[in-house]
Amino acid sequence: MTNSIEEIEQADVILAIGTNTTESHPVIGTRVHKAITRNGTKLIVIDPRKTTMAERADLWLQPWPGTNVALVNGLINVIIKEGLADTAFIEERTENFEALKEAVADYTPDKVAEITGVPAEDIKKAARIYATGEHSSILYTMGVTQHTTGTEGVLSMANLALVTGNIGRPSTGVNPLRGQNNVQGACDMGGLPDVFTGYQKVTDAATREKFTRAWNVPELPAAAGLKMAQIFAGAEAGTVKAIYVMGENPLMSEPDLNHARKCLENLDFLVVQDLFLSETAELADVVLPAASFAEKDGTFTNTERRVCLVRQAISPRGEAKPDWQIICELANRMGYEMNYNHPREIMDEIASVTPSYAGMDYERLDNGGLQWPCPDKGHPGTPYLHKGKFARGLGRFTPVEYKPAAELPDEEYPFYLTTGRILYHYHGATMTRRVEGLNELAPCGLLEVHPADAAQLGIKDGDIVRAISRRGSITPRVEITDRVKPGLMFISMHFSETAANVLTQAVHDPISGIPEYKVSAIRVEKIN
């Protein structure tokens, strides 16, 4: 997030795009509710489904999945045309506005209405509300990013914020709500093929030089590594021989699971380190038992860039060990000495090689955490980014064009399928399905079907159906609901018995590598 969770409450306008906040980030949903009810904040929701957020919204736009870029371009088109742009901000703090202006000129409300299914009048209304807010804040999640055009989706929202000057101030900004507890931290820590910690490029010689010294190795690889999809492709092709998996379950989370399984089966060696014998661990040659969050010290970095302490509450179960200890022991066995007495020492090392974490240590984090960038020990942390100046100087408009999703419904597969989360489960549900009460409240994955489609298919609420895509099929139970519109169905990602990702397609955003989880085409058959 460019801004902080706390600031949401003071926004004049919240534009929530592709975020089922009350289910996926419930406590932020609480903030939004408070903003609306206590401070009169206006809420615009863009979501193909009638989520609780949509129900609470002043204005709800219901586009077809995969049309965000067109919709946001449409908003910008209206804002420019109606003179609602923040010309002073554009003048002073941005560049390349003309290119944007040209690019969005075609995205008239009428044309955008045609692409997205959102009435032109609502597009205009939304643009006016967003643009006239003194503090307008954009919240978004995977509804924007899990597309082949996810990067464009994010850029289009950046354009929207820039064109109205809604960035670099409190209660504004472009705010991705990160899905997993430490997805922010995993990225910050260099868990990506092209960067070290703090997004320092592996391709940069000086950076590599710094890390070779810090880590006391003769050299470090200079070329960016393989992304997730490429790793799987490599496994399939036989160029990747071994994978070491720590705390992940790609056989739930990857798209086109049937294919992903084949890739992993092709490996010479698979190590999985986890709490449970997950779908992925079942395929492993060696499984290492890891300690849970409650059994170790450490830190997580949350969606607002806040580094928070994780504290050991109980001893590791059985012989399980914290992941950091396992890594150390393995490194030592492979001839590289890694010795830490406590994670605080690792944090000190992180701070020494990572400018944005440089001011952090466990003593300082003890009091509610710190938000990066925190460049030195005296720095209080940064609640919102881009104050006064962008990292690169001027904010650059990057015009983006709408491109349809990779797979659209056709005669054979006539329904849109979109996927997401529900309140009671988390991600691959390895954890939540082992909480009896949560399982009781949400025991299985439900395929949401609009009453009109259900009537046409001759299916009733609670029926088990076969949902089929070009990749595979699952047999979920049906929930008939108007949360979806006719032609659109939804299923959650959590349940391995009805794994959504059997149906999804392994096509990715070429830049971010994100699979297009949010749009697939399916057909549904009644099971007798």
Partner: protein
Amino acid sequence: MPLKMVELTIDGRQVSVPEGTTILEAAESLGIEIPTLCHDRDLIVAGACRLCVVEVEQIKKNLPAACAQPVGAGMVVHTNNPRVREARRTVLELIIANHPLDCLTCEENGKCKLQKYCYEYGVQDSPYEGETREYEIDDSNPFIERDMTKCILCGKCVRVCAEIQGVNAIDFINRGFDTKIGTFYDGELIDSPCLYCGQCIYMCPVGALAAIPSRGLGRDYDVEKVATTCPYCGVGCQLALNVRNDRIVGVTNIADSHNQGYLCVKGRFGYEFVHSPDRLTKPLIKRNGKFEQASWDEALDLVAEKLGAIKAEYGPDAIAGLTSAKCTNEENYLFQKFVRAVIGTNNIDHCARL
């Protein structure tokens, strides 16, 4: 805009506070604690329990509630004189006339605000006798027990559910003495729109609402509270794991946090997986398609050997590491360090994208 300051006297001490401050807040700023059962800093003032009444010399009519009464210039406030104490004692007597005194078995014992104030005001029993409200316990759902016989009708659960969560699963039903907190049509919670965030349990000043998974596992004073970060979504809520005998027996709020103490159903009740019998407790090595338990040395030696061999034969880029959005920063840091510095490849990624 600079706030206009108001000067007043509380218990003989001068204080200057911004206009609009309540007497309760002004007293707090002097370190004077005024008892309340229905007040919470994040809820809209209800003025329901009437325990916080104080005497204001300028208000002749009655004893105003400190939680609701804004300060006025020159006010002379008495928070603890005999008249005020008598009123509070009577309010407490009225409450306990309708409250089971089953502290021996109550989950809230030791944390109960009613108990605390009865202790402080020397209220042992009530001079009032008569009808009491008694209801069936609702434990229809996995997480929240509602024992409305213990309810003192402060309304905090109703307000947190409506004002903070926007769920409105419960509200006041019936009137007067027969007032009760209930779901729509006074059904069970399982049939209501409740989303089990458990904020109501946290707000409840007595034992009317309790966390079912924690029942009988230890009272507040039995448990050690370990402040930590929720392992679920990216909000990173701060919470306290309640630990007893090396087990997590519950979760409580940490109010001073970026999540203001609030949690969702997963954060509050989703810890049971830690104690799951499915947990891996020993390293496993697959032999002939079947897993066999192994010692750490065995398992780690095998992994080191295999990775070493593959690196030697095919080069470091034949190995890839998948790090984790669920592990700590320190672990992610070490993992990428391991992949880059020990294996020698940049083939590292994780499922950052969902």
